[in-house]
Symmetry: C2
Subunit: 426 residues, 2 copies
């Protein structure tokens, strides 16, 4: 199928999908969950083909781990769909009501965005999560998954299309694009596609941001900081340092830089370094850090680098203000945390750091749609507009203004014959 035709069909389908009510959508979601379980042998067989090819072509072990789609992953995915079915409908929520004048009432009501293009990485469970989030939020979706997961994705998309269209979704609401070329074609289809969510390598995300007029919701870098304040408790500092950096180094919400207040440095740096050393961590520090612990010399470039690996850069700062300024300058607006026993300092940090997620006395790794209780996420956004941080159902909706009158005309208000009352109802 040609990408243009898929996008045109998606636009048409999005109108019908956008007006389905909650009961219809939830019924379709539950039917979809059942169908995936019923057809699990096909899914596992398709995944076996992908896994064999991946092993033959010697794809890196972490990628292979993500590619595996077994009964356990399927059960989790199905639970995710069922959890989504019980959440309230994000569409048609009345967000505000104002009586502009007698009999002239303005409502702000949530509605779907339209057509979403999502480019995601190798995990096949992402396909199920994204498709079900788009279904629940009344959007049409064009999906492009990782090449390694080709057979699994084809199988999953086929099952989802079959059952959802049979149960009432409009034909063409969900299309799987086959290759990277088709994904790139999407970028020029701003007439049909309302938003693109890219997930994948930084270079690919940046390429997309630079090559489309379609609004892109996502993040390129995840340069996350932990700042250890003067008053940071030692034990908590060590625990949060280890969790933020080592719990999973390859993800966007892992820390890349630690900032340490000069008055805390001698106390917290040695135990932090010991805690990190058990995972073969490379430490790159400023000259003052290197006076306290063993570390390679950090360059200016280190403050701008997302390692996604067992490397951490550490800098000593004079003050909270310097820490905030460093984060607002070198950070990527993703997630930054302060460890501090001083509530005033913590509040100042949370007010002044401009990132999408700002934390106090907890690990940067918490910034995630599931952990936030959003049900699931289609991606994480570091944009300044629309949706920030983990993007769930709400980030897939927007609003429209509905005004109901009984023949009201503007001329009466311009002439002064009538006056607005602007009475806030909700």
């Amino acid at each position: 199928m040609n990408t243009l035709h898929a996008a045109q069909a998606a636009k048409k389908a999005s109108i019908a999908a956008g007006v389905l009510n909650a009961a219809q959508k939830n019924k379709i979601l539950l039917a979809c969950a059942d169908a995936l379980l019923r057809r699990s042998p096909e899914i596992l067989a398709a995944n076996k083909i992908d896994m064999e090819l991946a092993e033959k072509t010697k794809i890196a072990a972490p990628l292979i781990k993500r590619l595996l789609f077994n009964n356990e992953k399927l059960t989790e995915s199905v639970q995710g769909i069922r959890a989504l079915a019980v959440l309230p409908d994000p569409v048609g929520k009345v967000l505000s009501v104002t009586e502009l004048d007698l009999g002239l009432t303005l409502e702000k009501v949530s509605c779907p965005i339209g057509v979403i293009g999502v480019i995601f990485e190798s995990r096949p469970d992402a396909l199920i999560q994204i498709a079900s989030l788009c279904l629940k939020s009344g959007n049409a979706v064009l999906l492009k998954g990782g090449a390694e997961a080709r057979e699994t994705n084809k199988c999953l998309a086929g099952i989802i299309q079959d059952i959802t269209v049979r149960e009432g979704m409009p034909m063409g609401w969900c299309t799987l694009l086959e290759n990277r070329e088709e994904a790139v074609q999407m970028l020029s289809l701003h007439e049909y596609i309302d938003m693109i969510i890219p997930r994948g390598s930084n270079e690919f995300v940046r390429y997309i941001m630079n090559n489309t007029k379609i609004p892109v919701l996502g993040h390129a870098d995840g340069i996350c900081h932990v700042y250890f304040d003067d008053s940071a408790e030692t034990e908590m500092s060590v625990s949060i340092a280890r969790d933020s950096k080592c719990q999973y180094t390859a993800v966007c919400n892992a820390a890349e830089t630690f900032l340490v207040h000069e008055k805390a440095a001698k106390r917290v740096l040695p135990p932090i370094a010991r805690a990190l050393s058990c995972t073969e961590m490379v430490i790159r520090g400023c000259s003052r850090v290197r006076g306290i612990i063993n570390a390679e010399e950090a360059s200016e470039q280190d403050w701008r680098t997302e390692y996604l690996d067992s490397i951490i850069s550490i800098k000593i700062v004079h003050s909270l203000e310097e820490a905030v300024s460093h984060i607002n300058t070198y950070g990527s607006g993703h997630t930054d945390s302060i460890v501090s026993a001083d509530a005033d300092n913590a509040r100042q940090f949370m007010r002044e750091v401009r990132s999408a997620n700002v934390f106090w006395n907890c690990s940067t790794r918490f910034s995630d749609g599931y952990r936030y209780g959003l049900g699931a996420e289609v991606g994480v956004s570091t944009s300044k507009l629309h949706a920030r941080g983990p993007v769930g159902l709400e980030g897939l909706t927007i609003y429209k203004w509905l005004l109901s009158g009984s023949g009201h005309i503007v001329a009466d208000y311009v002439s002064g014959a009538k006056k607005f009352i602007h009475k806030k109802i909700l």
Copy 2:
């Protein structure tokens, strides 16, 4: 002043502006209102220079009318600023609170966007409105006004900068760019500018949308429709037709196309045509329209055209569905209205039309920030993301997620030692 330096200064200032509290901002707004009144002789003198040059260079009469800035306009602007000072602070609103686990609380809090670039037309009162909206919402702003209003804008911006910085706004929070070249330079400064709001000719807005990586909030076309349903009352139809089309033809929320249900056509078209004829309206109709009233022949291109003039295109449709489909195909997503005595039809129209503003039994001309009770507007958006319709204080803010714990780490939840409770508090 160089545009790059202005943008860098604005970014720096935006951090300080973003953390001012409501009392500080309101005090500055009131001082600004007083200063504008106190220095009115300078403003009127500057406007006199612009007006004389405009008359000398034979600028079109409507433009000259918009350019005039007299005591009456100043009083209105000052009232606008004072009205803004009593509105609640759009920054720091707690939008949601979730207890993720004992002692681990997630808040979603509104915050400023950062640096806004606004390109606006000849009305000097727009400068005051935009600057005061940005001040109240804690954003820094780069302004570019129309060349005709050069002296007035310079004078107004100077007064606003003087008083607001003296009263506590950070230096550089508000800069007036001098010429179009500087405005174009803004487009490449995505590192410093978070959003651009262009107001002006369609071509200019489209040029901006096509030439920047900065998110653009605005609208190019305003192709607004009124659909007269089978059950539309004749008198109401005539009144809404006249107000939507004739009350002010040169604005984006004026109607450009009427759609008429075939069963209503013979009844409503002749009186509508008579009502429009008193304003020398050119009517372009489909063949069936031309069988009922005098009209030029409409081409396919007419359905896609924003006339902004005394021209209206009219089409007869078989059904509500055809009207909705026409609007979703040819409209620009700005404002569309149904005239109907049938509530079911009206609800269907409001659900299915995907525009930012969808109306029932009232004039398209109501879609405006002041009329909506938003206080004022920086522009009207037909985007699908972030903010739609008239954009006031709320559209100038976004949110960040704040997470507060007491040493919480993700490893405990991954291992199963702890479980999320996700208790919704607000």
